[in-house]
């Protein structure tokens, strides 16, 4: 499989994505979410999330048609309640057992149950999130779907986790592409299927490249700073000031390297994704260094100088750049999709993924 696209394939007849949302809208949505969340002591969160996703989806277009998110706060709230119950149970089990005066071995058993319980939760979270999100997403009236099995996913997850552990993390890129591959190949858009061609080796090289780059960048920054901060700055609490300056530049350096890293990962994943009906149609991930650079130059200072308040603007800028650089091969026919997927409204996996902070989609 070719790993990069050639000029001939990028024709004007390709399918284009674009994102039309803006920071002001997102900021206001977040503001209302915040106020209602405070008033309801956090209970409003599922509705807040639903509204945010709904907005982001409806501003995302393919061939100038919007996507739609159908998830509701109610569904996610129910899932949330279920998940909280399970998590609280697992979390407090060892403590309750211990306080009730049981023997040490029983306490140990309870702790093991909790540990095992939390372990099982991760594949469940991935599975549940993808299934719920896909079912609640539609384009041109046709819903997406996920046909993967929890059992198979768990099997892949644990086997790959094991390999990652015994290789002290080196295997992680391979695990990432295997999981992504499994999930992707089981996603459906109506009657169309998705495919993903894993290449752990290349991802590993990307990780390595940026690991080394970060190291060099930080060393370089430290060297340059060390020169200018070498003498006393004449500011009271000189030490504190120097630490702050160093930390600040460290964060900026890391953010910049991260930006370029994410660009490579984005291109990597999407250039290996395709959607098929009778024939296969590739995705193209086309982000370039120059775009990433101008994005970072504009948005990182913006974020810093507004103490994070500008985050909604940065987020929409990011989405705009990302979708601008995503295309599907022109030969794909979007007029002949049939609704083949079933409705799935159990949001507990989605809420669990949220709780565990898994960054899946």
């Amino acid at each position: 499989m070719e790993t990069t696209f050639t000029e001939e394939l990028v024709s004007k007849e390709n399918h284009f994505f674009n994102f039309s949302g803006n920071g002001k809208d997102l900021f206001i949505i977040r503001l209302v979410n915040l106020m209602l969340s405070i008033v309801t002591l956090g209970l409003y969160y599922p509705w807040a999330k639903a509204k945010t996703l709904k907005y982001l989806y409806s501003e995302t277009h393919l061939d100038e048609e919007p996507f739609t998110f159908h998830g509701t706060g109610k569904e996610m709230f129910k899932g949330f309640v279920k998940i909280m119950a399970i998590i609280l149970f697992l979390y407090f089990l060892p403590t309750v057992v211990r306080l009730s005066g049981a023997s040490m071995s029983l306490v140990l058993l309870a702790t093991l149950i909790t540990f095992a319980g939390f372990m099982v939760l991760i594949p469940f979270a991935i599975h549940g999130t993808v299934r719920y999100r896909m079912s609640r997403s539609s384009y041109r009236g046709i819903h997406f779907g996920y046909r993967g099995s929890l059992k198979e996913l768990s099997r892949i997850y644990y086997w790959n986790l094991f390999l990652s552990v015994i290789t002290l993390g080196i295997y992680v890129p391979w695990m990432t592409v295997k999981l992504r591959g499994y999930v992707m190949s089981n996603i459906r858009y109506g009657s169309k299927e998705f495919n993903y061609y894993p290449d752990g080796g290349e991802l590993f090289l990307i990780n390595l490249k940026y690991g080394v780059l970060s190291f060099i960048a930080v060393m370089l920054m430290g060297f340059i700073l060390g020169g200018s901060l070498g003498t006393s700055s004449g500011i009271e609490d000189d030490f504190l000031y120097k630490i702050a300056v160093f930390y600040f530049f460290f964060l900026i350096t890391i953010l910049f390297v991260q930006g370029f890293y994410q660009k490579d990962v984005f291109n990597f994943h999407f250039n290996r994704t395709s959607i098929s009906d009778e024939s296969e149609h590739r995705f193209f991930g086309m982000m370039e260094n120059s775009e990433v650079f101008s994005f970072l130059i504009k948005n990182v200072p913006l974020l810093f100088f507004t103490a994070g308040i500008a985050w909604p603007w940065v987020q929409t800028n990011l989405l705009r750049m990302v979708f601008y650089n995503l295309q599907i091969e022109g030969t794909l026919n979007l007029d002949n999709v049939e609704q083949t997927e079933a409705s799935f409204t159990d949001a507990s996996g989605e809420d669990l993924g949220d709780f565990l902070d898994l960054d899946i989609l």
Binding site: S20, G21, N22, K24, D25, F27, I28, I29, L31, V32, N33, L34, M35, L36, S37, I38, G42, Y44, Y45, W47, A48, K49, K51, T52, K54, S58, E59, H61, E64, E65, P66, T68, H70, G73, S138, Y139, R140, G141, I142, H143, G190, E236, D237, F239, L240, L251, L255, G308, I309, W311, L334, D335, N336, V337, E338, Q339, S343, D354
Partner: protein, 373 residues
């Protein structure tokens, strides 16, 4: 405008008309019969940015109509369609506002965040915690105490406190001689043999004192001052309140950064930690003030507090110097400030009494500690 039937992705060009209760869909190419939707069951979503309005009807898989949001039929249609839930209505209303809305929203945002974080949530949390019965506090205090002192609960990281049984008895004797102004709490003190210059109070009434701090003392008033301070922590329920405030702060930060960037959350959490330290210092000041009142109530001179704070200040300076950073990060206000406060109180104090029994108890305790050093 076009129609999607939810079964395939084919777009059908249509035209719309309406009656009182229905929307009628006519297919331009007459390929299908007219379709009727009930207005009350049709929901709509609009994107100002892309200029599209989407009408949705029916359960999964729903049918859709896509049209420009400027279509004249929408003007009166909007009012009769399915109502949005209030929260969504509020959000959409806010989004469609003008530029002034943005500035106002920003100010509102900052104000609400500040108010919520610094005032509302902490007060709520504190208020809630103050309603909890004393027995719960005592239970909690016992658990913590056991965790520090009983062998079977100790982990590798915690070091066992060397309890001084005889010293504790003498110290308890001394404490019992202080009038605690009718508090419901059962104050129990424990003496620990250690050079550490420290003492702390647990929720529910237990107080732990390290022999190191008594070594610094030369008079019974100083011990009385220390104990009054710790007793105040107990009676004012500072541990619980501090916990509640910290939790409220953390909880608030979680809501605020709910689905946002990890770096932002991290920065805010650090700010939160700084704020927690500030709260701790406020409680310490409070304990100083209430402690001084308790001393006064017992007719004990605040001179003891002054001497104790002075000794502590010297001790601190030997350790860390007069550093602004340390002051900022400290959980106690610096002793120099506390000395000044105590001196002011001393000037206005009246009604100081001698108490021979208390002096005796002090001497017994002090000699016990000196002997065992």
């Amino acid at each position: 405008m076009y129609y999607l039937d939810g079964q395939t992705s084919i777009k059908h060009e249509i035209s719309l008309s309406q009656s009182d209760e229905d929307i009628i869909i006519e297919f331009r190419d007459n390929s299908f019969k007219n379709i009727v939707w009930k207005k009350a069951e049709t929901s709509f979503d609009e994107s100002k940015n892309s200029g599209t309005t989407i009408l949705k009807y029916g359960d999964f898989p729903s049918q859709y109509i896509y049209l420009s949001h400027e279509e004249p039929i929408l003007d009166d249609l909007r009012a009769s369609l399915k109502k949005k839930p209030f929260a969504e209505f509020l959000t959409d209303y806010a989004i469609n506002g003008k530029g002034k809305t943005l500035i106002l929203s920003l100010l509102l945002f900052v104000f609400i965040t500040a108010a919520g974080y610094f005032v509302v949530l902490p007060k709520l949390a504190e208020g809630f915690v103050m309603q909890l019965p004393i027995s719960w506090e005592e239970e909690l205090g016992e658990r913590i105490y056991d965790g520090m002192t009983k062998e079977e609960f100790l982990t590798d990281t915690l070091v066992s406190l060397k309890l001084d049984k005889e010293g504790s008895r003498l110290l308890q004797d001394f404490v019992d001689g202080i009038d605690k102004d009718g508090t419901e709490y059962n104050i129990r003190v424990t003496l620990v043999k250690d050079d550490l210059v420290n003492a702390f109070a647990l929720p529910g009434g237990r107080i732990v004192v390290f022999s190191g701090i008594i070594d610094l003392m030369n008079s019974e008033e100083e011990l009385a001052a220390l104990l009054s301070h710790e007793i105040s922590h107990v009676t004012e329920r500072h541990s619980l309140r501090n916990l509640a405030k910290s939790f409220a702060g953390y909880f608030f930060i979680s809501i605020l950064t709910g689905d946002a960037n990890g770096t932002l959350a991290f920065i805010l959490q650090n700010v939160d930690t700084m704020n927690n330290l500030k709260n701790s210092r406020e409680f310490e000041e409070d304990a100083d003030n209430v402690g001084l009142e308790l001393l006064d109530h017992n007719g004990i001179t605040a001179e003891g507090m002054v001497k104790l704070m002075t000794s502590l200040a010297e001790y601190e300076e030997n350790l860390i110097g007069d550093n602004e950073l340390i002051k900022f990060l400290s959980t106690h206000p610096l002793s120099k400030d506390r000395v000044e406060k105590a001196q002011t109180f001393l000037k206005n104090q009246t009604g100081i009494k001698e108490h021979k029994v208390r002096t005796q108890k002090w001497r017994r305790l002090k000699s016990h500690i000196n002997l065992n050093d």
